[in-house]
């Protein structure tokens, strides 16, 4: 059975001030209508540095949507909402 890809990856570290806010923002936004099927996970860049490097993460928080790095700093709630909507409309694989 194929594992479903994660839609949103939030790259965090223990040393950044905005990481918790970024994760919380993603978690809250995904409760909004239309976003319920979106999957996400938090990635500690020190613990999973190989993955972080694959995504070209250079700072935390960074947020990847659909496997591509979209934000390299904490976005506003509206910027994140727009990016997720764009991903849902144009980029998300149909079988996800």
């Amino acid at each position: 059975m194929n594992k479903k890809p994660i839609d949103i990856e939030v790259f965090t570290s223990t040393v950044c001030n905005h990481c918790q806010r970024a994760s919380r923002m993603v978690e809250q936004l995904l409760k909004e209508p239309g976003f319920e099927s979106i999957t996400w996970r938090e990635i500690d860049v020190v613990a999973e540095i190989d993955l972080a490097v694959t995504f070209c993460v250079l700072a935390t928080p960074s947020i990847a949507i659909g496997g591509a790095l979209v934000f390299t700093a904490l976005p506003s709630r509206q910027q994140l909402r727009n990016a997720i909507q764009h991903y849902l409309l144009h980029e998300r694989p149909n079988d996800a």
Binding site: S13, T14, V15, C16, V45, V46, I49, A52, V53, C56, V57, L58, A59, T60
Partner: protein, 132 residues
């Protein structure tokens, strides 16, 4: 145009003077021009060739391989099949090394950025301790 002494070239390329003389002796470097007093004077083409040798050595190529690559470098159109094949193989090795170096560069850049942002502790140290 350059006309450098062996000492100056040795310093500039961080190679010993013995190494420079040895490369000339075994033919990696064509006979270097001498003054009337017999003192070696290195020209631009010599320096360029020495820099190539040094780069290739840093990639762990053998002196014999470097000799073949230099033949290719001098006359790529008429190089023997084996030399062309060697050059192709070495190109793949260099590309692989570049990929590995690029991954390392990105890993180090991330760790340095995290360290800079950190007020308590440094993730570089955390990672080294985890790996040990």
């Amino acid at each position: 145009m350059r006309d450098d002494t062996i000492g100056k070239v040795a310093r500039q390329l961080a190679m010993s003077m013995d190494t420079l003389r040895y490369y000339e002796k075994i033919g990696l470097l064509p006979k270097v021009r001498r003054t009337e007093a017999g003192i070696r004077r290195y020209q631009d083409k010599d320096i360029s060739r020495l820099k190539f040798i040094k780069r290739a050595q840093q990639m762990n190529f053998t002196l014999a391989e470097i000799g073949d690559l230099l033949k290719m470098r001098e006359d790529p159109q008429h190089a023997r099949t084996e030399v062309r094949q060697l050059t192709t193989n070495k190109l793949k090795e260099v590309e692989l090394r570049l990929t590995e170096l690029d991954t390392l560069r990105r890993e180090l850049a991330l760790l340095v950025n995290l360290c800079t942002a950190s007020e308590e502790g440094c993730p570089i140290i955390d990672r080294i301790e985890k790996d040990e």
